[in-house]
Amino acid sequence: MSSRTLDLVSPGAQLRPRPMIRRLRPTETIMRAVLLACGVVSIATTIGIVLVLGLESLAFFREVPLTDFLFSTTWQPRLGQFGIWPLLSATLMTTTFALLVSVPLGLAAAIYLSEYAHPRTRATLKPVLELLAGIPTVVYGFFALTFMTPLLQAIFGPQVQVYNTFSAGLVMGIMILPTIASMSEDALNAVPRALREASYGLGATRFETIAKVVVPAAFSGLVAAFLIGMARAVGETMIVALAAGAGPNMTLNPFEPAQTITGYIASISGGDISYDSLDYQSIFALGLFLFLFTLVLNLVSQWISRRFREVYQ
């Protein structure tokens, strides 16, 4: 299109009209193809994940019935028992503790930053909080083991074991806090000023405006943040691998050690595993479970925040 128009304004064209030829531009075509290939890498990754997890899981489920995997409560690879519940319960426990820390604190921090803090205060506080998000998770694992666990032992006494899900969960909560805070802040900022002004105009205090107008209006955005935080907690590996304990343990006692799904995968891959053992294949079944679990959380979160955005546009 553009090339034709340009031909008409070039000096030659003004003198004697030339037949307009659509010039082929090899660079253009090649670059387009190369860039498309880059985009396709992401699809290939997804297909790779699904294929790898799916095929190996299939081999695994030929040996271990899916019903055993989903409904039995013993995970003892040596005895050929692969019931996911001990691992899943530990995952759910650490996730719950993490959310108990990160959701209230993250939301509160977001409210402070978006509703109270002076822009200048916000500009200094926010990067400091974001530092927490930049710290490698293995460092959090160290922190859980050498700071949080002794602290819990000092508070709750010797019933707190060296490895326990509580410590791992709390530290995971600190790790997720900035994610939840920053997503929540975005949701709060998306609430139009006009709604706040309407509330103030009716004689509401700042807190009433936040509690009764801003937070309810941002609610779905906040839920989306919550779900993303949950997905992060479910998939987090290093903190639980270091601090939650090695060895599956069907327990609800937060002070006892228990291995999470990710913790198990990490522990198995640490040693030299033989590639055709059931142990090895179980990693893929667990990986598939994690993948699907977090995928659902992410999809729901995206769906909710898309609807939330539609409301205010």
């Binding site: 709604l195 002004e197 105009g201 009716l202 004689g203 509401a204 309810p216």
Partner: protein, 272 residues
């Protein structure tokens, strides 16, 4: 200390040398103005002359803008609303506000209107229902929505939304209602409905309305305040502009016999 409404003074609100800055920028300067009780006062003037700024200063809405600074006095019921011991929250309970763009909460119609009374601690369902009905009736909306009070306020048409916002404002029984171009986002029919509503409301409330529409001012306002912009060459190419109250009087006088030439030029549409 706090505000006790007084029936006494003839003036609902008195502005004394009201001056507003945004950060270091002077927005309006030295506004002296008396607003009469249970009358409609219109603020007119070119864009950027500070009408909204003055209006928002009256119920301390400007407190919410970082960098906004107010000097001078706003007298209401014998108190200067900018005294340090006056709570802005209380001010806004007495002096309500309706905004340019209808801004109902994303809640039901009922909850929108009940929002203010609930803040005041009214929990009793029957009382709330009563207040909601009265307010919706007073804003001429009752007949249109009485059957689905549970519907979201956002589902109403623009004109209905603005009347809902008025109902919401009067549900806390304010003394003064500030309206910042309440009709500029509405079609002529909805505008007419709001104008009729104002004429009804003024029997109970003192109303101040900012408007760009000269006919509207003439139709509804008892008094009109004309604001204008002053300019001053600071250095070459660097102009300082601020707003001020140019002329104030009965609407009839402002539109038929303005004292100032600039008022004359403005109302005849020469600039705006």
């Amino acid at each position: 200390m706090s505000i006790t409404r007084e029936a006494g003074p003839a003036w609902a609100i008195e502005l004394n040398k009201l001056t507003v800055y945004y950060n270091d920028k002077l927005a309006v300067r030295d506004v002296d103005l008396k607003i009469e009780r249970q009358k409609i006062t219109a603020f007119i003037g070119p864009s950027g002359c500070g009408k909204s700024t003055v209006l928002r200063s009256i119920n301390r809405m400007n407190d919410l803008i970082p960098g906004a600074r107010v000097t001078g006095r706003v007298m209401y019921s014998g108190k200067n609303l900018y005294d340090t011991d006056i709570d802005a929250v209380e001010v806004r309970r007495h002096i309500g506000m309706v905004f340019q763009k209808p801004n109902p909460f994303p809640k039901s119609i009922f909850d929108n209107v009940a929002y203010g009374p609930r803040l005041l601690g009214i929990r009793d369902g029957k009382t709330l229902k009563q207040i909601v009905e009265q307010s919706l009736r007073a804003s001429f909306l009752w007949d249109e929505v009485k059957d689905d009070l549970k519907k979201s306020g956002l589902a109403l048409s623009g004109g209905q939304q603005q009347r809902l916002c008025i109902a919401r404002a009067i549900a806390v029984q304010p003394d003064v209602i500030l309206m910042d171009e309440p009709c500029s986002a509405l079609d002529p029919i909805a505008t007419q409905a709001i104008e009729e509503l104002m004429l009804e409301l003024v029997r109970q409330y003192t109303i101040i309305i900012v408007t760009h529409n000269m006919q509207q001012a003439q139709r509804v306002a008892d008094y009109t305040a004309f604001f204008n912009i002053r300019k001053e060459q600071e250095t070459a190419g660097n102009e300082r502009r601020w707003g001020l109250l140019a002329e104030h009087g009965a609407t009839e006088q402002i539109f038929n016999a303005p004292k100032l030439e600039e008022t004359e030029r403005y109302i005849s549409g020469e600039f705006g």
